[in-house]
């Protein structure tokens, strides 16, 4: 659905191949492979406990994998000598529970990483904070503290905070699951605008209608494996009975 300005030789932004991951005796990822190309939106779906969050967290090295390979923006994530902070400058991650820093204003939340990590000047960072907040429709909340914002606004501010680091890929883990239905829409709209701008994204979501509209590719996880994958159309005409049952339940 988007103009993917990619030549066939360009390596994928995110690539997982045959990734295995266990927590103790529990095998969570059992040979997961998928790729995300530049400008693509990949939507991860599956039942609760099927390993979606774990897969996403492995991409940003919040979990280490047992075997297989993950390459993100040229970083070999599975390499023990990985430059973790360089990886995380290229990857933005947004969690279900926003995790804004409660003691800082929205502006301070957003300028913290650009100033301390990238070393850009305070005034430049503030200018950039204004830009990313405008992008998520919160230009008037600069001086507010997180607790003064609604859940939807906090999640949009968290997205803005990630954007300020100018990541090459964004990861979203059920970012609307903690929100009332009427606040979900405003967050999804922001993500749609990002996709239209060409941001590469991997997102876990239970909003099937939204997934149909935004996904370039859908990955259905089941029992730690990619059970079915394809364009958004597989959500309306699934090939496997498991996906049929999953979308049928309207989850």
């Amino acid at each position: 659905m988007h103009n993917i300005t990619r030549t066939d030789t360009a390596p994928p932004v995110v690539g997982l191949s045959d990734v295995h991951k266990s927590f103790g005796a529990l095998k969570v990822l059992n040979g997961v492979s998928f790729e995300v190309n530049r400008g693509e939106v990949l939507v991860l779906i599956g039942r609760s406990g099927s390993g979606k969050s774990t897969a996403l967290r492995c991409i940003d090295r919040f979990e280490t994998i047992d075997s297989g390979e993950i390459i993100v923006c040229g970083h070999r994530v599975s390499d023990p000598k990985l430059d973790l902070r360089a990886l995380r400058q290229d990857v933005g991650i947004v969690f279900q529970s926003y995790n804004l820093f409660p003691h800082l204003t929205i502006e301070e939340n957003i300028t913290l990483a650009p100033c301390s990590v990238k070393g850009i000047s305070k005034s430049q960072a503030k200018e950039q904070a204004r830009q990313v907040l405008a992008q998520v429709g919160l230009e008037d909340k600069l001086r507010q503290y997180p607790e003064q914002l609604s859940g939807g606004q906090q999640q949009r501010a968290a997205i803005a905070r990630s954007l300020a680091m100018q990541p090459k890929v964004m990861l979203f883990d059920e970012v609307t699951s903690a929100l009332d239905p009427e606040l979900t829409g405003e967050v999804l709209k922001v993500i749609e605008a990002l996709a239209a701008d060409g941001m590469t994204m991997v997102m876990v979501t239970h909003e099937m209608g939204f997934a149909k509209g935004i996904a370039d590719r859908v990955v259905f996880m089941h029992r730690g494996k990619v059970h079915e994958t394809g364009p958004a159309a597989i959500l309306t005409s699934p090939a496997t009975p498991e996906l049929a049952q999953f979308v049928g339940t309207g989850l």
Binding site: R85, Q89, F95, S97, H103, L104, L112
Partner: protein
């Protein structure tokens, strides 16, 4: 039984009381400032990934919390003397009080660190902040804001406990009182006055901490809500 109180002889010694009170405040100030630094470092140490570091910090805290302050003061006093170090009673008192309050502060600040949700740290890690930056910006300030009331109470308690340093003749408020009561034979009056001065010092410290809190916690100043 008739109570015969005469404050006149005591009150005319007011410059000595004032000196003692100022010295007590100085001791409290030094131990509070250095104790805060020790507490932050100790709390980081107790949460260290290196078991030797966390164990050592744990031993420090437990050793201090399970021995009397007076014994700690004597240990510092005679310990330094046996090393051939000739330090003033004031320096020894300040050192001993700092070591003492540092242990309590370590425990309080560690509790504050532990109360920071894991998600806060993950969000900061996801933004590529370094470990030191995360501790400074994301963990330490909200942790201290959260435990600020316990922390400041501990420092007021320390100021009151500093009266014990009169035992090594640090010229703080209680030592001054001991001297004046033996000089004037007005023991009860002397200690009534001293108790009042300690109350005033406590109030001064609490007011100071309240003002400091307004300066270092801008969110609380603006919203008035606890973190």
């Amino acid at each position: 039984m008739n109570l015969n109180l005469d404050f006149a002889a005591i009150l005319e010694r007011w410059p000595a009381f004032l000196d003692g009170a100022l010295l007590t405040l100085q001791l409290a100030f030094i131990a509070t400032a250095l104790g805060t630094v020790i507490g932050v470092l100790g709390a980081i140490g107790r949460r260290s990934r290196h078991p030797v570091v966390s164990r050592l910090c744990g031993i420090y805290v437990e050793a201090i919390r399970n021995t009397p302050l007076l014994v700690q003061i004597f240990l510092v006093y005679f310990g330094l003397a046996s090393l051939g170090l000739k330090l003033s009673a004031f320096t020894v008192a300040a050192a001993a009080l700092t070591i003492n309050v540092g242990a309590y502060t370590t425990e309080i600040i560690r509790a504050g660190f532990d109360a920071i949700p894991r998600g806060q740290i993950e969000a900061a890690e996801g933004l590529a902040l370094s470990r030191a930056q995360i501790y400074w910006h994301v963990v330490m300030w909200p942790a201290i804001e959260r435990v600020y009331p316990s922390l400041t109470s501990q420092f007021v308690l320390l100021m009151l406990a500093s009266s014990v340093t009169s035992q090594i003749s640090a010229e703080e408020l209680t030592a001054v009182a001991n001297y004046i009561q033996s000089d004037t034979y007005r023991a009860f009056e002397t200690y009534i006055l001293v108790a009042i001065v300690y109350v005033v010092l406590s109030l001064v410290m609490r007011a100071g901490f309240w003002l400091l809190g307004l300066v270092i916690f801008p969110r609380r100043r603006r919203l008035g809500t606890p973190l």
